[in-house]
Amino acid sequence: MNLLVLMIALPLLAAFLLSIIDRASSFAARVIGPLVLLATAAIGLSVWSQLGDAPQAVQWGGFQAPLGITLYADQFGLLFALAMTIGTLLLWPRSTGNQLRSSSLALLLAGTGSGLALSGDLFNIYVFYELMTVVSYGLIASRGTSGSFASTLRYLVISGFGAALALAGIALVYQATGTLNLAQLAQVAPEKLNNLQGFAAFVLMLVGFGVKAELFPVNMWVPEVYATASSRVSALLAGVVSKLALLIIMRLLILVFHQPEALTVLLVLGILGVATGELAAWRARDLNRMLAFSSIGQLGVMFIALSIPGNAGIFAALAVAVHHLFLKPAMFLLAARWGGSIRRLCGAAKTSPVAAGLFVLLSLSLIGVPPLPGFWAKLLVIMPLLTLDQPLYYFAVFIILAAASLEANYLFRVVMKLYDKQPTAVPHKAHATADLATAVFLGGGLIAAVFMLVPLADRLDSIAAQATDVSTYIQTVAPQSLEGDVQ
């Protein structure tokens, strides 16, 4: 028995019962969501503290590993599960119209996200992923504007398309191996999936799961959605949800697909993502879409990092992802009041100096100015890229560096506007206290990271090492299979 499943089950239960509770007491309905998430976060933290170097595997329903569905908790997965839970808690969506539904959706998102991060079964991942997608449709549409509906629909088209492809990819994998359990797949993959079919399955799944990870070219929904969704939802999607999709791709890459071509596909798509995202952001005239495009670029960097073979790539991608996890939500929170034309931002620093200062800090970290954490993350990506000594990798470095200078340019154009002394016609609204406090908390995390750089890097390194330890994975999930029939 393991309490870990409660991280998933409790939020779902609460979501189911929320409307019934609301009938009894609307106050209870309001507080129960955050309370449940607090509880799950506590569970997650307690598991984290006892985890150490030994990952844990839990079987849903107690069935044997290849037959039942596995829940695999290593630091890697648990980190993102916790990020999901705590992130949702921090970015608890506020809807003017229908708080009850938003709360249910938030609970569902937290539960699903945790499950996605911890799941050890391919089809289970697919189902979790679909659920998360549906929940995010709801979150986006909960703003209630016609634009949010239209962008949700367009998102749905791309997402549905991708999901079907991912399903086809799963079918190909099952056809080749006859199993869906990641541990068992990891065992048989070198033999059975190291061929064209395996590669096709990877590309299909990459495209499918890449939709949420803002992978080029299935990221066309990003600018529309982030511009129409409420800023907290954008923060959740860009900050946390995209990282979970990335986590799936990382898991697949580590455990199942070892083709060198797979890495090249990631590299090419990553480069395209960085180039298109950052270039498009350069010309964006409203903050939301600028952040959206920049987030595409950042995710592209993570894909480039993933294309580095071995532990270094996972470490780098993890570092960039964790950095982005802190940074993008804070930026979107600031954009809550500053959305709209950048030109309108003239002098906004006067009304909200803290927010403006925070924006500067976040921008500096985003473009990678030492000693802020963004710099170290970027360093981690570029250093191994150059040692690979291949033209395409060199080109990737060039793209990353060029993109950073573009980033500096457009972000500081915004900063300049913030500090511009010319008055604007419309007075600026100050940020909501909760938004600002959350953003400051996240920004504070970045600063704290500067001072804890060394332990932080060590910790991330050990997480990455644990994540890439395939044999431990197999042994933890199915200890007996190592002795028996390894085909």
Binding site: M1, N2, V5, L6, A9, L12, L13, A15, F16, L17, L18, S19, I20, R23, V58, Q59, W60, G61, G62, F63, P66, L67, G68, I69, N98, R101, S104, L105, L108, T112, G115, F123, N124, V127, F128, E130, L131, V134, V135, Y137, G138, A141, S142, F149, L172, Q175, A176, T177, G178, T179, L180, N181, Q184, V188, K192, N195, L196, Q197, A200, Q487
Partner: protein, 228 residues
């Protein structure tokens, strides 16, 4: 031009798929989770229908999630479509035959649906299939009488409770010291109606949940104001 390029892409894709197909290996049956399940499911779950074993036991969490997806979709559908305006124009009532037919079919569908649900662990069928029939039972009158409506409040309570039941059964297993969603109760005799432990109960929850979700969703869609 656009269609031409699209067609070109499609042809290219087709060729690729064919190429992959050429490389596909159809002879790997040795390491097959399905075969393993076939050989142990009868003992482990006590259900005669192995698909049900897989759906409710081995991959029970998938089923829970898919119920959640339906729940979420229905909720979002309701949110998106919103309440009908009182003065919005309505379709005219259906004719006598349809109305009477719907009334006649209602109990029939109800019974069939429940039967399919309750025999899910023995014969083909189960919570999903039965749930859909249940939903149609409740939805048919709506088509016949556009003015009437399903009580969404009741539906939301039913769906919430049904979903909660599923999870609570899972939690019950935990309180007994098993893993979440482990099969409970006595497995009974293979092939008997009351067998397979908690699986029929789960399937009932699934059926009710599917039925209420779908009915709610369809009702929302039907209620949506017609355009033009």
């Amino acid at each position: 031009m656009r269609r031409f390029t699209a067609a070109l892409f499609l042809i290219g894709l087709g060729v690729m798929i064919a190429a992959i197909y050429q490389h596909m290996d159809f002879s790997n049956t040795a390491l097959n989770a399905g075969q393993a399940i076939n050989s142990v499911a009868a003992q482990e779950t006590g259900a005669a229908n192995f698909v049900t074993s897989v759906v409710l036991a081995y991959r029970g969490i998938d089923t829970l999630l898919e119920l959640t997806i339906l729940f979420t979709a229905a909720m979002i559908g309701g949110m998106v479509l919103g309440k009908r305006r009182v003065d919005a124009p309505r379709d005219p009532d259906a004719g006598f035959i349809l109305r009477t037919g719907a009334d006649l079919l209602f109990p029939l569908l109800l019974v069939v649906g429940l039967y399919i649900i309750l025999h899910g662990h023995l014969t083909p069928g189960g919570g999903f299939q039965g749930g859909v029939i249940l939903a149609s039972a409740f939805f048919l009158p709506l088509l016949a009488r556009p003015g009437s409506s399903i009580n969404q409040d009741v539906i939301s309570i039913v769906e919430g409770l049904a979903g909660a039941t599923f999870i609570l059964i899972g939690l019950l297993a935990m309180s007994e010291g098993y893993e979440f969603l482990s099969p409970l109760f006595d497995k009974g005799e293979l092939g008997a109606l009351i067998s397979a432990g908690s699986l029929p109960v789960l399937y009932l929850a699934v059926g009710i949940k599917v039925g209420s979700e779908l009915a709610g969703l369809l009702a929302h869609l039907a209620e949506a104001e017609a355009v033009d």
